[in-house]
Symmetry: C2
Amino acid sequence: MTTIKDIADHVGVSFKTVSRVLNNHPSVSEETRTRVWAAVQELGYRPNAAARSMRTGKSHTIGFITDSIATRPHAGNVILGAQHEAWQHGRLLLVVNTEQDPTMEEEAISMMLERQVDAIIYAAWYHRPVSPPPMIKGVPCVLVDCFVEDYSISSVVPDEVRGGREATEQLLKNGHHRVGFINNEDKIPATFGRLQGYRAALTAHGIDFDKELVIEGQSDSSNGYECAQHLLSLSDPPTALFCFNDQMAMGAYEAVKERGLGIPEDIAIIGFDNLELIAATLRPSLTTMQLPHYEMGRWAVDYLMGIVDGDQERLPVHEKLECPLVARQSVT
Amino acid sequence: MTTIKDIADHVGVSFKTVSRVLNNHPSVSEETRTRVWAAVQELGYRPNAAARSMRTGKSHTIGFITDSIATRPHAGNVILGAQHEAWQHGRLLLVVNTEQDPTMEEEAISMMLERQVDAIIYAAWYHRPVSPPPMIKGVPCVLVDCFVEDYSISSVVPDEVRGGREATEQLLKNGHHRVGFINNEDKIPATFGRLQGYRAALTAHGIDFDKELVIEGQSDSSNGYECAQHLLSLSDPPTALFCFNDQMAMGAYEAVKERGLGIPEDIAIIGFDNLELIAATLRPSLTTMQLPHYEMGRWAVDYLMGIVDGDQERLPVHEKLECPLVARQSVT
């Protein structure tokens, strides 16, 4: 087994210098760094994290369990945010995608505990209540974009109500008084929260809620198209549409264009989620509200590190993060 | 420190039964499993992977280093495929997203070697040549959706030429003789390969290559729109368009619709990549070629496990996987 001393002898520098390079200490010249790493490779030296983990009881990894974030194109930024923050704390993420299979979830958590992860993040690809295996409480843990009904585990989710309010206000501020809302039909927090926000914005602007202007459908582009068709054919149609998500907005675009109307000059449209693939590529590009995926990922790691490094117990918290406006070309 | 014996005494079962539950052996009743896991949790027992790793020199993890697959919506299925295959082999993926920062790449690889990963996957979010840090060769490794120019490291990539040929043939088979090709302008393997495939298909069908029918632009929807506008205004316009990717096809849809033409009855359109968010939601839904992301992920792990478990050296291989047709509604 190659030791640090072997590397030092081989390169002709001190033990301390090699140690500094291995720990990425800045006070070593680029040239020496390069030579040390070349020797590390040549001699096959490996600093032994397993031994260190045995000694300290810490693995410097954070388990990241998710239903399907790594698979689906919607929420990858949760991983990125968590990864960035973990990196700042000298930790790696151990990511497992369970596809919500309870057996795989249990096995993943068990394997993570076995590998002595410092903490676990349990993240969903969309905001919903969950029932994680109780074993998860074996280490500090936090739920991302999901929550347990009794709030006994800390969680971080998007502020759906505020997002819905601000999306609607963006239309009201631009002089629209008849604002249609094309909502999702699923009974999930985003559906309820965004509707509540829509109503709150109307109230704040002294506009009566008109249930004729709210329509529900499956949250895809076909249903966005159908719902927009319906709202645009009302006797007193809206001049602006708030769509539950960007896919529904994509369908609404089709309906507006088919009637020979222009976006945003005849009909303003605002979406939700900021799926770049859709929002940035629609013509005109879509103004929408951004889900705080990146921020939730960062928040989760930051919160966990406060517990792990601070060695303190905390009561569960439930954080709601803002969904900021991403202004593009579909609202005036 | 809690031992397996403590758990066995607590639950009132044998040492062997507890061991079986911990190793997910099927021959234990659901009731006993539940009681054992409850005791594991209550008594705080943790099978010590660090100790096992010290003993066996194997960590049962596979490092997965990527530029940005976890962040971007394009290639998440590489992680899913690798994860599924790794799971079959009782291994977890240690995923790190480096954003192509060379320092972060080196640190990630160094941390992975330190944690004694059994193997490393180095994956790009689109097919391109790469220069991974040489340290990566410290363990069995494979490149996914990328390759080194001298092919000294094994790699798996999409068969771009075959994909381009089959996309074009799909249009030719449907009776189209004037097939436009809206290509990417970037000098990358997908650009060259798909063009080569387009030409091969024409040749195989006895159709002369007409350079007027090939146009290049940035691979986004605006440029897809502009390029389609150009091709449709030719004196002898195409009746079918093969688009470099689904975003360009999305723009081509706009151009076709603006001219009052129908898809597929007037103009057939085929894309590439099968980005579900776009291809499945366009109206009509887009026929396209699927990038073998999932299959490349699986292939990579399967290949690595052959080396790790088989304890054998292998010469580097360079695998090209098929891009299968996903038939939807935009081609007749």
